[in-house]
Symmetry: D2
Subunit: 361 residues, 4 copies
């Protein structure tokens, strides 16, 4: 009543929206029933991509602040979780597209050349803003991935590539994590001690077991030494930087410590939201991977071994990209360095209080 | 190559589509982040409604033919099943809308007056084309349901109400079902005999059971006589027509027989597709009901007991409509009259051959 | 290596588990293929109910502590959220059960008498532990709901009914919420002021609008006064207690304030977990409601109007219980009292600091 | 009433079922909350695997008959579709397992050695009965895949490997398909003509297009000749058998024709069920692939790069098996040879009648 009235139909722009399904097959005189489905499936995808971008841009804004207010953290996390919810949902949309059989698709496929899902600007933008770097993408026809896009989109994509990605923002934010070294708790030092003690104890259990043969003991010892080596690469900043220089890891040394701290002590109130933040990044990556994988499967089923418009079969490309375009791999690998709660160094009372809420101090 | 090239972006009309999210909150100077989600959720709903209508119209065309080619039946069924798939999918979309909390909604709710989901022309059209009659709708404010719509939509809705609905088309089609009475198989007569024999046999088992007390026997007998009565209403066309006149049933007498025949002998090749047709109608009805129910729940959670714009709480209206707007209730109730396969009259060989494929005769 | 080895098969008790599907139809000489499905659907349900109970019991333990450690809150919330995840998942299981047609069910239905899902002890226990009181249950055959259960289960259910439910524990916990009245922030007083100012401002906008007719103005004023009344019942402890005595509300006066505080200021770090706690209770309730509703629908489809073993049709009972057995209705209704963020009283700096983390003070 | 009464609890064997969750962590004195979840997730998987096997065995029985009654086909298809439904459902179960974090898993992981999902006898049996041959499995530690199983299970697996798989049964059934060569319709000959005419027409369109440069024309011609070659391998039984001998195809020459016939003319009543049969095989394969893929992802997230008990990382193995263990690849590849409906040879009236129902002749 305080604002000029608005009707549902106009608010949603339905007059235009519901008239935006122009079948090429109809234009060329052979209307194919299923082309409407094909169009609507892709239009709804793009609408959801827009929503994902809306949330992503807002999270990037939050993390780009020089001083992020504490109250923003919950907002950022719930928006990332909304992205996860959208992904989980639209990954199921393929089931509907698959009600169109390969033969139905052939009815209008010829009219679509060279339009292709590879040209989705928004999907590429999501990948880029999350942190996928151009050099980490699967190479295709020796030209940058954005060459399929419209000139103005190419320009925008180049600008997007220069922006600070969510990966980089989270990397910086992790480096600023308090508690890595507080007055009475040196996490990194204590964690190393705990790891070494754990290995030592495990070894003793095995060596003193009268039922094991010397061969079994030797083999066990060897395996444990292998594990220990993996850990030690983490303990030496020098070794770590070599691995990083070789491109096997992307996070900074300090961020990795912080991420580990958050994961290991996620029960502390102060780490609850950071823990959910890291979890949602893993979820997003995992669900994008599933999206690519399922589309690869569908392309296989739809087209068989037909040669795609670009000279290679679509499903081979998609299957290759599935894993290669993963962004937060370092966070997946982090579990390598988890140790059981019972072996974790105890946090001194003073620090633990700081990890809780002010009102109790 | 044979047709002028088209690009993904233009084919899908993305320039316009992705610019159709006009936030009222932004227009009035208080941009609310979640309004974009709200718009996109409703826009994707409407796109899917369009797809459902596309399939529905095509099925109606198929059933409106004076002589339906046999090859059309598979097409009709798979399109109805696609509607089911879409419904199953979009019913899950509420989960995403529920990531918007009531407080987030309050940020822009005032700007939306009097827009409301009740104004969805397409949803009303789906209900109407399926067969929901105006007199069976929940009355609201003593005006016909389409009074909320735009004048041109009101006109179109009136025309739609005059069209032959899918319910009516299926009713007619059922009446034409062959096999209700073939040269050597009178389904209806044999079914009645089978039912009576079944009751008789059940009764004897109970009466001759020495472990049951007279009271238990009497109670059982009473219950069985109650059941038998329900069946007998079905056996007398006169009684049936009284029930129909009282509005408790909508199908014609002969259609009900045909639907029962199809359900009971669905293993016969000739009834496979008709069986799936009936199943998909039940699915569509059930899923529309679930859609209404979940939206009622969401309205409750979002608004509590707040009085809606129309003077009644939204979730009460939706909960009332949930069951009332069911269309194919007769088909749900049909199971009342199912009898176990082992009691079914056997189909004579000649008729059974006719229910199979020609090539084997 | 440190522990005696265990094999997958033995660990899961598969020898027994996979031999626990005893078809009655087979026992009585007429094996029905689909009875295995029927059994497995119910067995998996019961396994998931056990998991839900495991989580529920653990949450109840956490809230039963006289002094709950801060680090337990995250655990409690993630366990409730796991229950939500399980519910969302198993609600989809009905789709599989529905691949069994009514006719398939008839093949073995007679052998099952009087076994019924009403006898699920675990489901009843979940409802009871969440907080469903015996007097709030739908009456059935004039005997307490647990009369269908085995004697030892009846005894256990009586004990369960005497335990403090999650509803009651959350009610007590809410009453202990700090911040309802801190040194510089009296939430309840400021909230009332804000509500009154909001109504006042809204009224002025309308009354000073030259485009509105006196009739429209009068109608608006009346509606707003109605809304205001609802709020005022909340402001008077006396009125509130009358409503509570009449059974229209179950939460205590102070808990309701606390719940409102949490919802309205959920962005504050200290309220993040409490907000998710309340949300998960709503989710659990909503999903249990959906579970009942979908089972009611399925019963209708499976049995039509057949009279159930207890003398009433199963789907009518289930549909009636759907809403009646809702537990956290007060939390759903809470949205009635939400006001837009822009109208919320600002929290003074000192209190706001206390709502954040200690390390920053 | 006619049968001895049975109670829900006893019917489902709940006394035992709900006491089959023996936590190793509890046995060794360090009860880990999440181990119950871990056990129940795997127990419900195994229950569903049993259901899948129940359906699979029944379908195999149906196809093993020397003369399959027409009425069995619908049963077979609906049971395969039920398997698909179960798979779609349980693939979502991973979401629940992922609510257990890597750190929670570490609490009890050490107690489980060497139990592993690789030891699931039922999963291996499903793969084998569908048609996965031992030589097509990913090699692991140079010992046959069933060496991880219990001796009696090894014996049963060896027997299972010798049985005729569903793949082989479908292969034989396809070879028996009528209509490959009827009195007035030689499908294979007409299909070849249609393919050749299609290529010829496409080539002419391109060659006579004045807007194309000679280079573009040449490139197009080359691509089309490549496509044509793929088709010709299909037209020569000799070439086909070479490809088959090289292990690139598994179906017989005649089955491939039949499968193509079914796909291309699926609208004919007689091919409706065969079409759904082939589709469900694709679905089953696709969903098993997704199951493996998602478990690979989960293993990565749960364990990082930790070395598995068998000396290799679990997720690498799973990712490799994902595609390699696909069984019905030939049916996926079939779309390579689809041609648009408009180019399909018309079926003469006499044959078309035979593809319909007897009652109309």
């Amino acid at each position: 009543m305080k604002y000029p009235p608005v009707q549902y139909h106009d608010y949603l722009g339905l007059d235009h929206l519901l008239n935006s399904q122009k079948r090429r097959s109809e234009e060329f005189g052979h209307p194919a029933h299923d082309e409407t489905l094909f169009i609507i499936v892709h239009q709804t995808y793009e609408l959801w991509f827009k929503q994902m971008l809306t949330e992503l841009e807002s999270v990037i804004s939050i993390f780009s602040q020089t001083q992020m207010p504490e109250t923003d953290m919950g907002t950022a996390v719930s928006r990332l979780e909304r992205i996860v919810g959208i992904q989980r949902y639209i990954n199921g949309q393929i089931d509907i597209l698959e009600t169109m059989t390969p033969l139905d698709f052939l009815e209008f496929r010829d009219y679509l050349y060279p339009a292709s899902g590879f040209q989705s600007f928004q999907w590429r933008k999501i990948e880029t803003l999350l942190g996928l770097k151009i050099q980490d993408r699967l190479q295709f026809n020796n030209s940058p991935f954005y060459k399929h896009l419209r000139p103005d989109q190419q320009t925008e994509m180049q600008k997007t590539l220069e922006r600070t990605s969510l990966f980089d923002l989270v990397d910086s934010w992790l480096q600023r994590t308090p508690f890595l070294e507080s007055s009475d708790f040196d996490f990194w030092k204590e964690y190393q001690t705990a790891v070494n003690e754990m290995f030592q104890a495990d070894l003793e259990v095995i060596m003193s077991n009268p039922e094991l043969t010397p061969e079994v003991k030797a083999r066990n010892q060897q395996m444990m030494e292998g594990s220990q080596k993996t850990f030690h690469a983490l303990f030496s900043e020098h070794e770590f930087n070599q691995i990083k220089a070789a491109g096997q890891i992307r996070l900074s040394y300090k961020s990795l410590h912080a991420a580990l701290l958050i994961q290991l002590y996620r029960d502390q109130p102060v780490f609850q939201l950071p823990f959910r933040l890291l979890s949602s990044l893993l979820d997003i990556d995992e669900l994008m991977t599933q999206w690519r994988y399922r589309h690869a499967q569908m392309a296989h089923r739809m087209l068989g071994q037909k040669i795609g418009t670009g000279g290679s079969s679509g499903h081979d490309y998609l299957k290759s990209a599935t894993e290669k375009h993963k962004i937060f791999t370092d966070f997946f690998n982090l579990s390598t360095f988890f140790i059981p709660k019972s072996k974790l160094p105890k946090i001194p009372l003073h620090t633990q209080k700081q990890m809780g809420y002010g009102f109790q101090s």
